[in-house]
């Protein structure tokens, strides 16, 4: 088991997920053990089909484990979901096209069980400013660029003040320049909010730049290959990617991925 110390925000014990269809069964994840401390930033890296997204969906209570246990904030994932402690950002912004940017951010406050402690809730307008979209509150999604839409999705995920933020390749469809900007902003938001972040990505530089630890998954069946620490001090400027330490970690990950 990979331990990161402290009482974990997310804990998986021998979690296995098997999808059964008429054509047979596929093991998406096998015997995954993981502990993520509160406030941690962990990236999930691995080839296609290694079960990165499935791991995220386990934590989000969108998929149930076939075997093993998943614990989120000390209880089952369902409790965390009903307590509104989970924020999810998809690869597509998944904005409701008939709602303005502000109304999209407000959606989590309008549906589902209400949070008991509402004192910590941030105002939607404030969150839009936090993601750099102050002044675009009334814009409809089709009037925004891809990067701006993804910012709205991040603000929406944060509005219910979740203690855990799950991000499934949120910047995968964006160009590199926009991606760099959003990476920097995400780190700023993470440090400002203290949210635990699980971040799925295909990009080695992105994983190393953002996270404290990178969980490398192997495919067929999806399983943990290694947990790599990114020993680079925060705050990290974009130029950290040119330091020898960064390059060392990145090339280690690249070598690892070739064996996955």
């Amino acid at each position: 088991m990979n331990s990161l110390g402290a009482a974990p925000a997310v804990r998986l014990d021998g979690a296995t997920v098997r999808f059964t269809s008429e054509r047979g069964s596929v093991t998406a994840l096998e015997n995954v053990g993981l502990q993520v401390p509160p406030g941690g930033f962990i990236s999930l890296l691995g080839p296609s089909g290694c079960g990165k997204s499935t791991l995220l969906r386990l934590v989000a209570d969108l998929v149930a484990p076939t075997q093993g246990a998943v614990t989120v904030l000390g209880g089952p994932p369902e409790t965390a979901r009903l307590n509104r402690e989970l924020g999810f950002v998809f690869q597509d912004a998944t904005l409701l096209p008939w709602r303005s940017a502000l109304e999209n951010v407000r959606l989590p406050l309008e549906v589902g069980p209400k949070k008991r402690d509402r004192s910590g809730l941030r105002k939607p307008e404030e969150l839009l400013r936090l993601v750099g979209l102050g002044g675009r509150e009334d814009a409809l999604p089709h009037e925004l660029s891809g990067g701006m839409r993804q910012r709205v999705a991040i603000a929406r995920a944060l509005v219910a003040e979740p203690r855990i933020l799950l991000m499934d390749e949120p910047f995968g469809a964006l160009d590199e320049i926009t991606r760099d900007t959003l990476n920097e902003e995400l780190l700023r938001i993470w440090q400002e909010t203290g949210t635990t972040i699980l971040f799925v990505t295909h990009s080695i530089p992105e994983a190393v730049f953002l996270s404290q630890y990178v969980l490398v998954l192997a495919t067929n069946p999806g399983r943990v290959r290694e947990l790599v620490e990114c020993e680079l001090p925060y705050p990290r400027p974009l130029s950290v990617r040119e330091t020898p330490e960064f390059i060392r970690i990145a090339s280690h990950l690249r070598a690892l991925l070739q064996t996955c």
Binding site: L82, G87, F90, H142, G147
Partner: protein
């Protein structure tokens, strides 16, 4: 000499900000909107000239001028017959679409009922309206009720089919989002399914706006004392061609106005772009 590329470095006048492209209508769009009117004017003029050159008898093909004159002189008759047709098509439109929307909602909530009843709806829809109309007149009598029912019938199926599709064709990722937010079934319905279905609903309503007028007129053909359909039959039998053409013009104008009102409502309500944003 110029074997090296050159470039002029420009300073931005205002600070650059990430912005979505602003789409402005090309100036061509306005002149293109006039094209159908020009084409219509040319066709009407050609009709006037051909009818005069070949001096066609009025009962075969009246000239546009004769139709226009009739439109003015017979205005009281036309209006007296217009009111019931307009009423029948309007009430039929409201009734038919309301029932279709309610049935679609029921179908979406009960796959079993849909499996049982949808094929029957398809079957009834395959019966031509000209065959359905006499049956409905026999059941509902010669008054306005039978015409309203026929107009409602003709609206029903396209709206049902579109509404079922609209309510079920929700982006699966949006459903996952609602699940992470622990949204209730009712919240998913009102906040996600209903708005997603509106573009589909309006496509159906635009079809229904013109077919409901058709339904009312067909109903009046089967038997009615008053209404544009009755006037069409009467004018045809009496060889009053200018009146026939004028009646057709009034019924078309009503259908166009009806369609325009629904389109206007659509533009006011469906302000977002379908399918472009996931």
């Amino acid at each position: 000499m110029a074997d090296k590329p050159t470039a002029v470095i420009a300073e931005p006048a205002a600070p650059l900000r990430e912005r979505a492209p602003i789409v402005s209508k090309p100036p061509r769009a306005r002149s293109q909107a006039l094209l159908p009117f020009v084409a219509a004017a040319v066709l009407v003029a050609a009709w006037q000239i051909l009818a005069q050159v070949f001096s066609l008898p009025i009962y075969i093909a009246p000239t546009p001028m004769q139709v226009a004159r009739t439109l003015v002189s017979e205005l009281p008759t036309l209006m007296r017959n217009f009111v019931p047709t307009a009423l029948e098509s309007l009430v039929g439109f409201v009734v038919g679409n309301t029932i279709a929307i309610v049935v679609a909602v029921v179908f979406v909530h009960s796959r079993r009922l849909e499996a049982a009843l949808y094929p029957i709806a398809v079957f009834v829809n395959t019966i031509p309206i000209l065959a359905k109309a006499p049956i409905l007149v026999l059941i509902f009598g010669l008054g306005m009720t039978s015409k309203v029912v026929i107009a409602a019938f003709i609206c029903f199926f396209p709206t049902l089919a579109n509404m079922v599709r609209g309510l079920t064709s929700v982006n699966p990722q949006s459903l996952e989002l609602m699940r992470v937010l622990s949204a209730s079934k009712a919240e998913v319905f009102w906040k996600l399914r209903v708005p997603s279905s509106l573009p589909f609903l309006f496509s159906a309503l635009k079809i229904a706006s013109t077919t409901s007028v058709l339904g009312a007129i067909v109903g009046e053909w089967i038997g009615a004392d008053l209404g544009l359909g009755a006037l069409i039959i009467e004018a045809t039998h009496n060889f009053r061609s200018p009146l026939l053409y004028a009646t057709v013009f009034v019924s078309s104008a009503w259908a166009v106005v009806f369609f325009a009102v629904v389109s206007f409502a659509e533009r006011r309500i469906v302000t977002w772009k379908q399918g472009e944003v996931s």
